[in-house]
């Protein structure tokens, strides 16, 4: 008598337990596989971002400093061998809010994102036309690259020596005319002095150098596997 009454209750209890167990195991399994997948995905995002901002990267000037002119080529860089991206992964690289490279399609819900702080260095060519006199020195800032000087051929006077920080870079007793590149160091500010005979008008001597200007930006790498 007792056994028979217990039987339906027992069956329901077993059913309930089994149901809970299945539910629990399914939930745990999903959670684990999600965690594992996103960890791999994240690893990919981190490694790609490391490669992008590293010193050896084809798009950087220095560590964490991107070259503004190289940003447009990023798409082809991702295709090439220099940066290793798993073939199966969809990837998107943004600079600020702008998408600069994309491969495959990303679904925001399942993607892993990493943000890197970078500077973007833009080298603009600065041209100055100093008033050239013996007494007047002109200074170009540190981190200036590819300095050139152009001296016009004027009958009123001529430059015969150009010195940078008291070191003679160019000299010609008959007068210098034409365009010369000056070997100045980007490590220090450089005072450029001209030694001359006669006089030259403003504009007869032109100095050009590439001055880097940096702005800060956030580089976002999104990977969806």
């Amino acid at each position: 008598m007792r056994g028979q009454i217990e039987l339906p209750a027992f069956a329901i209890a077993v059913l309930l337990l089994t149901f809970t167990l299945v539910l629990g195991i399914t939930a745990a399994n999903t959670a684990f596989s999600n965690a594992e997948r996103s960890a791999l995905e994240r690893q990919t995002a981190v490694s790609v971002s490391d490669q992008l901002v590293g010193e050896a990267s084809p798009v950087t000037a220095r560590e964490n400093v991107l070259n503004a002119s190289a940003i447009d080529e990023l798409e082809s860089v991702l295709e090439g061998d220099e940066i290793v991206v798993p073939d199966s992964a969809a990837i998107e690289v943004r600079l600020g809010d702008e998408v600069i490279a994309e491969r495959g399609s990303i679904s925001p819900a399942s993607a892993s994102t990493i943000e890197r702080l970078v500077l973007v260095e833009d080298r603009s060519v600065e041209t100055v036309e100093p008033m050239v006199t013996d007494a007047h020195a002109m200074t170009i800032p540190r981190r200036s690259y590819n300095t050139t000087v152009t001296i016009a051929d004027e009958p009123t006077g001529s430059v015969h020596t150009v010195r940078a920080n008291d070191e003679v870079l160019l000299a010609n007793d008959d007068g210098l005319t034409g365009t010369f590149s000056l070997a100045t160091s980007p490590q220090e500010t450089t005072r450029i002095q001209f030694e001359m005979i006669g006089y030259l008008d403003a504009g007869d001597v032109t100095l050009q150098y590439e001055a880097p200007a940096t702005r800060k930006a956030t580089l976002t790498v999104i990977v969806d596997d």
Partner: protein, 136 residues
């Protein structure tokens, strides 16, 4: 009589369900979530990136880099700290706050209790500078 016996099984089943559920929840809540680790990693990345950028900045007056210059002496630190604060503020995204610790004092904001921070240290010949960042 019948009612009493049936409820014992029901109680047993209920305890069983509770047991299974508790194990499930231990797994679900006990394992640190991926989001938490990602937040920590992202904060550390922010700190490291900011430190790298600072490390390569040219000095304003003397020494090799900006950071070395700041750490040369207490006077140098006092002179440069406002400028350094502005600079770090500009490098970091607006959703982050920071604190810098050096042997001469600190710059930035006080770190709130219990907040997760990312950390990076810059070594210079004159001492070290520790940068901590957190989400605000």
């Amino acid at each position: 009589m019948t009612r009493g016996q049936a409820s014992v099984t029901a109680i047993e089943a209920a305890i069983g369900v509770l047991l299974v559920m508790s194990i499930t929840f231990t797994f679900a809540l006990g394992v640190p979530s991926g989001d938490e680790r990602e937040t920590q990693a992202q904060l550390d990345t922010y700190a490291t990136d900011a430190a790298t950028i600072l490390e390569n900045e040219p000095p304003r007056h003397q020494e090799q880099t900006r950071v070395t210059e700041v750490l040369v002496s207490e006077d140098a630190f006092d002179r440069e700290k406002d400028d350094l604060e502005d600079r770090i503020d500009r490098i970091l995204p607006p959703n982050l706050a920071f604190a810098v610790e050096t042997e001469y004092g600190s710059i930035g904001y006080p770190i709130p209790d219990g907040v997760k921070t990312g950390e990076a240290t810059i070594l210079t010949p004159h001492g070290e500078l520790t940068l901590r960042v957190w989400y605000i």
